[in-house]
């Protein structure tokens, strides 16, 4: 089991990046998912969507080179790559809701064995609003959750989410610092282990039932 916080993040982000395919349009959620952009495999052409209104999100501009008219979905200074396109919010969500997004990568508070996701509020505490998350999860062709396996020792991969849902049964893949887990009609299938991690450790860190794949591998990160 990996202990180092930075190492955990790196593993998650590198492994998620391996899901990208040439020509994909991808939306990366705020926070850790954003870092996936740093690990896009070579020779693969990915376009990143920014739900505030463009495809072709580029690197963060250097200080002094910001363009006030170009920000990312977090409102932070951004840039666009060659071949980008800007549009309004209706078109942005036509892309998202209409199934034109190949993949979305999001963090989670909880995810369960039915593919349910809770990542937008904690009643009585955190009321940030769902932003575009509900549309992204309901609309993207593939929904990948990138998160630490547990939160301060608490389970996050549950039999049933207890927090208000973001969407029902839409999660396809869970990538954590301990494992890669596929959501299938039969349940959660453990397909890969992180380096230095055992099946027993993953099972102990997971409330949901896990089916261990016959082809269980170690992540290539």
């Amino acid at each position: 089991m990996i202990q180092d916080k930075d190492k955990k993040r790196e593993i998650i982000v590198k492994r998620v990046a391996q899901e990208l395919k040439d020509g994909d349009l991808v939306n990366l959620g705020i926070g850790m998912p954003t870092l996936v952009a740093n690990y896009i495999p070579e020779g693969i052409d990915i376009m990143l969507q920014s739900e505030n209104g463009f495809i072709g999100l580029g690197p963060t501009p250097k200080p002094g080179e910001e363009d006030k008219d170009c920000v990312n979905a977090g409102g932070q200074p951004a840039s666009h790559v060659l071949g980008s396109a800007y549009f309004d919010s209706a078109m942005s969500f036509t892309i998202i809701r209409g199934g034109h997004l190949d993949m979305t990568v999001l963090g989670a508070l909880q995810v369960d064995q039915h593919g349910n996701l809770a990542n937008w509020m904690i009643p009585g505490k955190l009321v940030p609003g769902m932003g575009g998350a509900m549309d992204l999860v309901a609309g993207a062709k593939k929904v990948v959750i990138a998160m630490e396996h547990t939160a301060k020792g608490e389970h996050k991969i549950l039999k049933k989410c207890t927090l208000p849902l973001t969407a029902e049964g839409e999660v396809d893949l869970i990538v954590t610092d301990m494992a890669v887990i596929e959501v299938t009609p039969k349940g959660l299938v453990l397909t890969e282990l992180a380096p230095e991690t055992t099946v027993e450790e993953v099972i102990a860190a997971t409330e949901a039932e896990l089916i261990v794949s016959e082809n269980l591998k170690v992540m290539n990160v």
Binding site: N52, D69, V71, G75, G129, A133, M134, T166
Partner: protein, 215 residues
């Protein structure tokens, strides 16, 4: 040609306490900052806000939160403005949280004369509450209703004197949709040009939607 050009101060004279006001912008980018400031300066209150978010304390409609201009916010996200959460939790501000894509479609529906739209977004979540569910081809959808404003406040990168608007880069966001869905539409012009300087093919909001160009 009707003269639509007014000062920022003249323009906000049309906004009255208690109105429903739609404001363009995403985290403040593409928001009409000078109109927003003038509303604060005039002491307008009890507005219902339709906007993507409540931005941050010193930016965009975030300034309306700080100055308690609004009593209700219909938005998709308030997480970047801690003051909003504080006022909501204290019961001082009502918040109606709407998924971002649904918000865009609801405003668009009002502008397009649609009675509503069916979306799968929100199925199985609290967003369902109180809404009609309609099944089409075996898939469940929520019926989401139009959302219209009394006044829309927009920010246009280039505006011609007839009221045609062009939005640069990511400043577009909700601006062109809100332009269609309010009784009175006020555009803050970053750059005002003569009629004809904007190519007719490149106009993003046709002049007929714009009532006032604020300068």
């Amino acid at each position: 040609m009707k003269n639509k050009i007014k000062t920022i101060e003249e323009a906000v004279e049309y906004i009255k306490d208690g109105m429903v006001v739609a404001v363009g912008g995403f985290m403040g980018t593409g928001s009409p900052e000078r109109l927003i400031d003038a509303v604060v300066a005039k002491g307008i209150k009890d507005l219902t806000l339709i906007c993507n978010d409540t931005a941050s304390p010193g930016k965009g409609v975030g300034k309306w939160i700080t100055n308690r201009v609004i009593k209700k916010a219909i938005v998709s996200h308030v997480g970047t403005n801690p003051e909003t959460g504080k006022q909501i939790n204290a019961g001082e501000l009502e918040a109606d949280l709407v998924p971002q894509g649904t918000l865009a479609e609801r405003v668009r529906a009002a502008g397009a004369g649609l009675g509503g739209i069916l979306t799968h977004t929100g199925i199985g979540t609290v967003v369902e509450e109180g809404k009609q569910k309609i099944t089409v081809d075996g898939k469940e959808y929520l019926l989401e209703l139009p959302l219209k404003a009394d006044v829309a406040l927009l920010f246009g990168s280039i505006v011609d004197k007839k009221g045609n608007v062009y939005y640069k880069k990511a400043t577009r966001n909700f601006n062109p949709i809100m332009a269609t869905a309010a009784d009175l539409v006020i555009v803050e012009a970053e750059k005002l040009v003569e009629v004809g300087e904007l190519d007719a093919t490149d106009v993003m909001t046709p002049s007929i939607f714009v009532d006032i160009i604020a300068q």
